[in-house]
């Protein structure tokens, strides 16, 4: 290529533009790029394998390990149980993946999630209809995400960590103030109860909703202009803006999505417990971040997929359920989970940097 170019450039056409030569006839566009050939499929599989291989191997190893060592782990009952327990976590992780792909992070989901449940309980206590209450809570959360987190981060350009940590603290305070620390009972709503507790065979209803959120998220990220824009904003916000993408709007929307999904999670929790209270684990946001990182999304955004986050969720849920059944104490479980998290992400980085 360089040999060719270092030859004298023929002067053609326009005088005064000696360096500007007409096009060399390029390869004819025969449309072969349009079909997905077998080779193309194979290439995609290999690419996917490179992205997820580490996490998938870890998940399988963990399942094998627990199946051998922990009696009762490899059973339909535990499968349903684990899926049920971690469905809300999956929904939250889908939301936080959007913000992380867009170059941010939303820690406030751990505040939105319980508060959404409490507001739902309050609305029901004031005799609003259930459907209206659910709608108000979800729409309200989306608006909160867009107008508070999204506005401050996307428009005012305040650091996402500060903003979402601040709103997490504020929302926790608000929840305590609202309920004065007490728990609100919610009963007499069959739909909410089903949401928390109904199973279809081995498939829990809330697990289905979690998977529906995941699939919807994957479709949005892969097949809509907004999804592509999330990657662009996370990959290089300046470039995206220069290319005409409304970067502030995209950022706002990602925080709307994460808050909205956190509210959905909060509603499911209300159904599960039959009550709403401020006691939810505030580190759930950070654990969701860990799932996303295990799944290969880059800190700083622009790289990774929801499928990867899903694998991260499976990993953490298998780990949690295995330790639980094995009778490991909650304190020790936290210790192990923390160590495994760091080890998993480190191993993944090592594997990738070797390439």
């Amino acid at each position: 290529m360089t040999e060719r170019a270092s030859e004298p450039v023929p002067a053609t056409g326009q005088p005064g533009h000696l360096a500007l030569q007409p096009a060399a006839p390029g390869p004819s566009p025969d449309g072969s790029g349009g079909r997905t050939s077998v080779a193309e499929l194979g290439r995609r599989l290999r690419a996917a394998q490179a992205d997820y291989l580490g996490a998938v191997i870890a998940v399988i190893a963990l399942i094998v390990l627990f199946s051998i060592t922990v009696p009762g782990f490899f059973s339909a009952a535990n499968f349903t149980d684990t899926w049920d327990t971690y469905s809300v976590f999956l929904i939250l992780t889908v939301g936080i993946t959007f913000t992380m792909l867009g170059g941010g992070m939303d820690l406030s989901i751990a505040g939105v999630d319980p508060l959404a449940g409490m507001i739902l309980a309050e609305l029901l206590a004031h005799h609003y209809s259930m459907w209206l209450s659910v709608l108000i809570v979800v729409v309200g959360a989306v608006l909160f995400g867009i107008c508070v987190n999204g506005f401050l981060i996307g428009v005012m350009k305040v650091n996402f960590f500060i903003v979402t940590l601040g709103s997490l603290t504020a929302l926790e305070g608000l929840a305590l103030q609202l309920t004065q620390g007490s728990t609100l009972l919610v009963s007499g709503y069959p739909f909410l109860n089903d949401l928390g507790n109904k199973d279809f065979g081995i498939v829990p209803l809330n697990g289905l909703i979690g998977v529906a959120c995941l699939v919807l998220g994957i479709l949005v990220l892969r097949y809509t202009g907004f999804g592509r824009a999330v990657y662009a904003v996370g990959g290089n916000a300046d470039a995206a803006r220069l290319a005409g993408i409304r970067t502030s709007l995209v950022t706002c929307l990602t925080y709307g999505i994460s808050a909205g999904l956190a509210a959905v999670g909060g509603i499911i929790e209300v159904g599960r417990l039959g009550s709403a209270g401020p006691g939810t684990d505030a580190t759930i946001g950070l654990t969701a971040v860990a799932a996303v990182l295990i799944g290969g999304v880059a800190f700083g955004g622009g790289k990774g997929t929801l499928l990867g986050s899903f694998i991260g969720v499976i990993f953490l849920s298998v780990l949690g359920s295995g330790l639980l059944i094995a009778g490991v104490s909650t304190y020790l479980t936290e210790l192990i989970t923390g160590v495994v998290l760091v080890a998993a992400v480190t191993a993944d980085r090592l594997r990738k940097s070797r390439k």
């Binding site: 007409p22 592509r228 470039a239 993408i245």
Partner: protein, 488 residues
């Protein structure tokens, strides 16, 4: 005895060879100029000698001792001082601390004493009167460069490398620097001077080594040197005499910029570009050229003046307003403002295609991008490969493909061939030429003098955020441009 003895230096970044089997030696008390076009490998060679880049093959000896590859500390200890291409002083430290940075890493207390004893005389010698306690960030560029030079000299190097440092300087400041370099040479230091200001190279160098496309193409001793001769060797062919002034159709201007103030207190600037016309902007760094392009593209508004396309003023702010009017910018810093490093080549070319509320078909996107890969000669032809794995030239072609894909009426190019090898450069010029024939107006900024001279129908030289002169036809000469750039 050689101070520097580089043998068989070879370097590739990815697949692109940057240096091929280069042998260079430098004697004490000699100024050797390294000349070559952008992307010829000059700076890479300097970085290999100073240890910031490891060579793929070859050896560097300093005073006969082998230097370990890619070890800047060892290179510095062995006597290599470098004034790098980019200003690298620590903004928050003061002048003395910056200069003493290479000496003491932990002995903060010694700085003040050193400052009095060593730094002042050194700065006096360089003709710098700046306060030793002044923070580096407060220095004007011309002084900052000399402070960087002082920092390189504080270790009393045997070999001093100056990489494009005069590019930041006005003519008078540059000539001060040249005098300083002569004095340093007379002290017995070997100086390697990298520049593409050919008159300077000719004036200063005892010997000029010319690199082209990564290979050493020749050496010219001072007695036989002339700017023309060096230029011919750099480009590898006779430089043609251009016939300009070809009458263009009296079409109404496509791009009109009126009364833009590029800096506070600067006189307003206006310009017009007709369809199929190329107007080149040039000036020193921070002369306002890049700011003007950013303003017209809506990237960073200067808050004054009007921009019209085909007579219609752009009222919407931001890049979206400019893009809607058909004004497309090729950003100057492709890593920072252009490339999605982890995204595929296809996504990079098609960035900005899809409205937020639309179905984005990956397949259609791939098909649309396909066309450009061939047309622009992007190599390797791997649409799904992340952009960061491509060479600089091919990344630049992706950026250009993204701009052309929008079917622009006005193309704004900021340093269209910065850090691009010679082959890719020809592709870039070819693509620009095709756009011109279809009636696109091109306004571009380049610090590469040859590029400005070769491409432009008219040249606007900016100095200190104002229009210094407009040159057309036979007025477009290297002498005129470099004189006006420096405010002459």
């Amino acid at each position: 005895m050689h101070v520097l003895e580089a043998r068989g230096i070879t370097k590739s970044f990815g697949a692109a060879p940057v240096l091929r089997d280069v042998d260079i030696t430098v004697q004490p008390g000699e100024i050797v100029a390294l000349a070559g076009e952008n992307g010829s490998g000059k700076s890479t060679f300097a970085k290999i000698v100073s240890g910031t880049v490891a060579a793929s093959a070859g050896t560097i000896r300093l005073d006969g001792h082998l230097l370990p590859a890619g070890n800047p500390q060892q290179a510095a200890r062995s006597g290599v001082g470098i004034v790098p291409q980019e200003i690298t002083g620590v903004p928050e430290l003061n002048v003395a601390e910056n200069i003493l940075l290479p000496l003491n890493h932990s002995l903060l207390s010694l700085r003040r004493r050193h400052g009095q004893a060593v730094v002042r005389p050194l700065l006096d010698r360089l003709g710098v009167s700046a306060d030793l306690d002044a923070p580096f960030r407060s220095l004007p560029t011309s002084t900052a460069v000399l402070v960087e030079l002082a920092r390189a000299l504080i270790t009393q190097p045997k070999l001093l490398i100056i990489d494009e440092t005069t590019a930041y300087l006005e003519r008078t400041a540059a000539s001060v620097l040249l005098d300083v370099l002569r004095a340093i040479r007379d002290d017995g230091v070997a100086v390697m001077f990298i520049s593409h200001r050919l008159p300077e190279v000719h004036e200063l160098a005892d010997r000029t080594i010319v690199l082209r496309d990564g290979s050493l193409v020749g050496e010219v001793p001072r007695a036989q040197s002339s700017p023309d001769r060096i230029a011919r060797m750099m480009v590898g062919r006779e430089i043609e005499v251009h016939k300009r002034g070809q009458t263009r159709t009296a079409a109404p201007p496509r791009l009109t910029v009126e009364n833009v103030r590029l800096g506070p207190g600067a006189a307003p600037l206006s310009l017009q570009v007709r369809p199929g016309e190329v107007v080149g902007l040039t000036g020193l760094v921070n002369s306002g050229c890049a700011a003007l392009l950013d303003h017209v593209a809506g990237a960073r508004s200067l808050g004054s003046g009007t921009v019209r396309v085909d007579g219609t003023a752009i009222t919407r702010t931001g890049p979206r307003g400019a893009l809607a009017a058909g004004v497309v910018l090729l950003p100057g810093d492709r890593q920072k403002e252009g490339l999605l490093r982890d995204a595929s080549m296809t996504s990079n070319i098609m960035l900005g295609t899809w409205p937020l509320a639309s179905w984005a078909s990956l397949r259609r996107e791939g098909r649309m991008a396909r066309r450009f890969v061939g047309d622009f000669g992007i190599r390797p032809d791997a649409p799904a490969r992340p952009a960061r794995l491509f060479s600089g030239g091919n990344q630049q072609k992706m950026m250009l493909a993204r701009a052309i894909r929008r079917d622009p009426a006005v193309l704004l190019l900021n340093e269209p061939t910065r850090g691009v090898d010679v082959g890719a450069r020809a592709d870039v010029y070819r693509v620009i030429g095709e756009s011109l024939r279809s009636g696109v107006s091109v306004l571009f900024y380049s610090t590469d003098m040859h590029e400005v001279i070769e491409l432009s129908d008219r040249v606007l030289v900016l100095y200190d955020n104002q229009l210094a002169a407009e040159l057309a036809g036979d007025q477009i000469t290297e002498d005129n441009i470099s004189r006006l750039m420096g405010g002459g």
